[in-house]
Structures are given as C-alpha cells and as structure tokens.
C-alpha cells in the first residue's frame, strides 16, 4: 500500500512545526509504522538537531534532487527506531535549490517504502512553502493561541485549499490554561470558530519541550510529560484511533468536546 504524505505547516515561525514533526514521526515509529521525515526548510534546517541526528548528515535533499547521491544514501536512520528515517535539508543552499515538481517526484518515490511521509514546512508562504506542500496529500496546521499566529494559520489554510490540499487539521500548540482562565490568552473555542477546521489536538506549553529539543530526544518518548502525552494522543488520532482530548481543564474540555462533536 502506498504511504501517505502529511505536511506540517503554520505560516508563522516559532509555533512548533519542527517539534510537531519530530514528535509525530517518532510516535508513529513507536507504533511500528515506517516513517520518513523530510526537512523542507533548506538553508535553516533544524529537524536533524531536534532529533539528535545532525552529526550523521553526509548527503541531503539537494544532493538527491541534483543526482549527487541515491535517495537511500541520504536517508538517515533514527537512533531509537529503525523504522524512522530523516531526509535532511541542505544548510548551505536555499529554497530555490529544489522545485515543487522534484518534491512530488521525491514523495512518490518514498511512498513506495514508507507508511508515512511527514514534511516539515518552513515558515513563510514563498517557495519553501510551495515545495513543502507540493507532494503532500494531507496537511496539519500548527498554531498557538495568539492573534498573529491564528491570522497566519488562516492565511495558510486558504493557500492550502487553493493548492488542492483539502481538509487540513489543526494543532493548537503552547496552550497555557492559567492564562486562558485569566483571559490573557485567546480562547480555544474562538480559535476553532475562526479557523473552522478539524481539531487534531491541543498541546500545553511545557518547559520539557525546550529540554528535549536541546537534547535531541522527542518529548513523545518521555513518560509523565503533559506535552508528550498530547503528542502521543495526536499520533494515535492520525492512526485513526478515537482518543479524547487531553484533560487540560474540565469546563474547557467539555466545550471543546461539544465543538468537535464528541458529545
């Protein structure tokens, strides 16, 4: 069966695309799936660092499209799960080194070998974004409870639809319940109402993310972390399981349940 390609995108930078990609990929590999992660952020690669694989890079995505190496030579096997691979971005090149047609070709090739292809999209709406979404079947839009991030997410959803990637799903990242309760942060209900796409999950703000990112160990593998638990639930939802939303706070949870039609 041919694999499915997901693009993780957001428009705005710093909302957690790379973290989401790393955790989803690792989570799916933990479930026994064959997963390849593509870092489409050429020139500003990060995914290798977040996964702790930087020192293994010899060839990258630009080498593959330029024919300097075979695709298999550029795929880096994860330290923890042998069914997880990374196709790193080039650091010394820029987004124009790859074009959308080449990305389509690449994802089609990878579809044969893997169950999931997860593409980490760069911030912005320029060529890097166009490359990243070119080969994708599905999209996950990551945003944070900030007006600017939601504005950008809305723009991205529109662009995805224009490019033929329909029904993107939403992850709301870096949620701080204490701030929402004080009314200092955007209400999740409002966000879903504005963006009007299916909610895939909510990830609480967590210091552990910073630690895990710096160490190169995805938080989804750590026991007893709120963010790790949230990413694990999202992973299972991608796999088609019905998983209730993380229990951030009772009243809020019920509201959301109602919104996504779980109740």
């Amino acid at each position: 069966m041919a694999g499915k390609a997901y693009v993780i995108t957001s428009g705005k930078g710093g909302v957690g695309k790379t973290t989401t990609t790393a955790n989803l990929g690792t989570g799916l590999a933990k479930l026994g799936k064959r997963v390849v992660l593509i870092d489409a952020d050429i020139g500003l690669r990060n995914l290798d660092v977040v996964l702790g694989l930087e020192n293994r890079i010899v060839y990258d995505i630009v080498d593959v499209v330029e024919g300097n190496c075979r695709l298999e030579q550029a795929l880096i096997k994860d330290k923890r799960y042998s069914s997880l691979c990374l196709l790193p971005a080039a650091q010394t090149r820029d987004k124009t080194s790859v074009n959308p047609e080449q990305m389509v070709e690449l994802t089609d090739q990878l579809r044969e070998e893997f169950d999931y292809i997860i593409i980490d999209c760069p911030a912005g709406i320029e060529q890097g974004f166009k490359n990243a979404i070119a080969g994708a079947d599905e999209a996950v839009v990551v945003t944070t409870p900030e007006v600017s991030a939601v504005r950008d997410a809305d723009r991205i959803i529109g662009m995805l639809e224009a490019e033929g990637v329909h029904d993107p799903q939403l992850i709301i990242n870096r949620v701080r319940i204490d701030m929402i309760n004080r009314g200092d942060m955007m209400d999740i209900e409002d966000m879903i109402e504005i963006l009007a796409i299916k909610l895939l999950g909510i990830v609480p703000e967590d210091e552990k993310i910073v630690v895990s990112t710096n160490k190169g160990e995805p938080v989804v593998l750590l026991e007893n972390t709120r963010s790790g638990e949230a990413f694990w639930n999202i992973t299972r939802r991608i796999e088609g399981e019905e998983v209730p939303l993380i229990d951030l706070e009772e009243g809020l949870l019920n509201k959301i349940k109602r919104l996504v039609g779980l109740r």
């Binding site: 020139g43 020192n55 890079i57 010899v58 330290k79 650091q91 010394t92 190169g216």
Partner: protein, 203 residues
C-alpha cells in the same frame, strides 16, 4: 583590445574563466579587468569561480595580482585555480593557503584548492572543504573536509576541536552522541589507517 585571452563560461557549479596560456600574463590581466568592467553587476551573489590556467604556471605574485582583481568584484567569493592536470598549481608553496579572518557561521561554506586557515570560529552547520590541511585558530564546531581531492595525509587542527563531523580524503567520522568533555587544549585530527584519530596538537 582583442578579446582572445579570457573566456567566460558557466556550468552548474558556477563560473569558469579560461585564461589563454599562450598570451602574456599582463595582457591577460588587463583583459580580465576590462571584462569585469563590461559585465558590471551581471554576476550575482556568492558566485563560485574556477580559473583554468591551461599549461600556465603562476608565481605567487601573479597569483595574488589575479586574486586582487577578483577581490574587487563583489559577490565572487570562492576561487579555485585549475591547470591542465587538474591539480592546484605549486600546491605545496606558500600563497596557496587561504586565510579567512572571520567566524564561519551556519550555512556558510569555505572551499579552497589548497590549505585553509580560519582566524575565527567555525560554528555548527558551517562547512570547510580544503584539498589540503585545515587550521582553525578558534573553536571548531562544524564540518571539515581536509584532503578533499584524496590526500590522506591532510590534517584538521583547531584551538578547540569539537566538530560535528570530520572528513579526511574518503574517510568520515562523526561526533559521539553524548559529547565528551573535550580537553581545553588545541587538538589535531589525522588519518591512521582507515580511522580518523584526534590527538593533542602538542604532546
């Protein structure tokens, strides 16, 4: 002036400038300069230039005169000399070492057909590629490839050597996943058999 001494060609990797080896050096130099004036802003950023010398051998002085002309051109950063047998001319003489007086940051590459000396740091994500040796008078944290044309005697040394990856000729090694406490002293990497080893620079 007749334009028969200098030919500009392009390929995927950048610009190739062919210098007619039958003409006098000063004549070539002038033609090169006037070609650049004609070209104006035509050449964009970070253009890699290789100069084909044919059978011509250059003295250090001639070489630095040529380099001076290129230095006047903004955006042309990396220069490589190629003669007929595809080796760097006078490859063990002084003058074919590239001295870079700045810190090399992530995404930047320094490539040279000789030795490279960096007066500064090399950060993670930066790449230094030399046909000869690499010396970093600072903290080395990036990727280095010494002996890139196959010289197994090439070495990589730094005041503080904490590389992401080291390559010498066709051999490659990477940093351990849990970084060891590196000694607070200059070190040198070289090839021993098929393995890249790191030792103190001064024992």
């Amino acid at each position: 002036m007749l334009n028969r001494g200098v030919t500009f060609k392009g390929d995927l990797e950048g610009l190739i400038i062919i210098l007619n080896d039958e003409l006098e050096f000063n004549y070539i130099k002038e033609e090169l300069r006037s070609k650049f004036i004609q070209a104006g802003d035509f050449f964009d950023d970070d253009l890699m230039v290789r100069i084909k010398l044919g059978r011509r051998g250059l003295t250090s002085k001639q070489k630095s005169e040529l380099l001076e002309i290129f230095r006047e051109q903004e955006g042309i950063s990396v220069i490589e000399f190629i003669n007929n047998d595809n080796r760097f001319v006078d490859s063990k003489e002084e003058g074919d070492t590239l001295l870079v007086k700045r810190t090399i940051r992530s995404g930047q590459t320094v490539r040279f057909e000789g030795n490279i000396v960096i007066l500064g740091d090399v950060n993670p994500g930066a790449e230094i590629v030399a046909a000869g040796d690499i010396v970093v008078m600072g903290h080395f944290r990036g990727i280095a490839h010494a002996g890139a044309k196959g010289d197994t005697s090439a070495t990589i040394s730094a005041f503080r050597l904490e590389p992401t990856q080291l390559r010498i000729a066709n051999y490659i090694t990477r940093a351990p996943d849990i970084p060891p406490n590196s000694p607070n002293t200059p070190e040198i990497a070289s090839l021993k058999g098929k393995q890249i080893i790191i030792d103190y620079l001064r024992k």
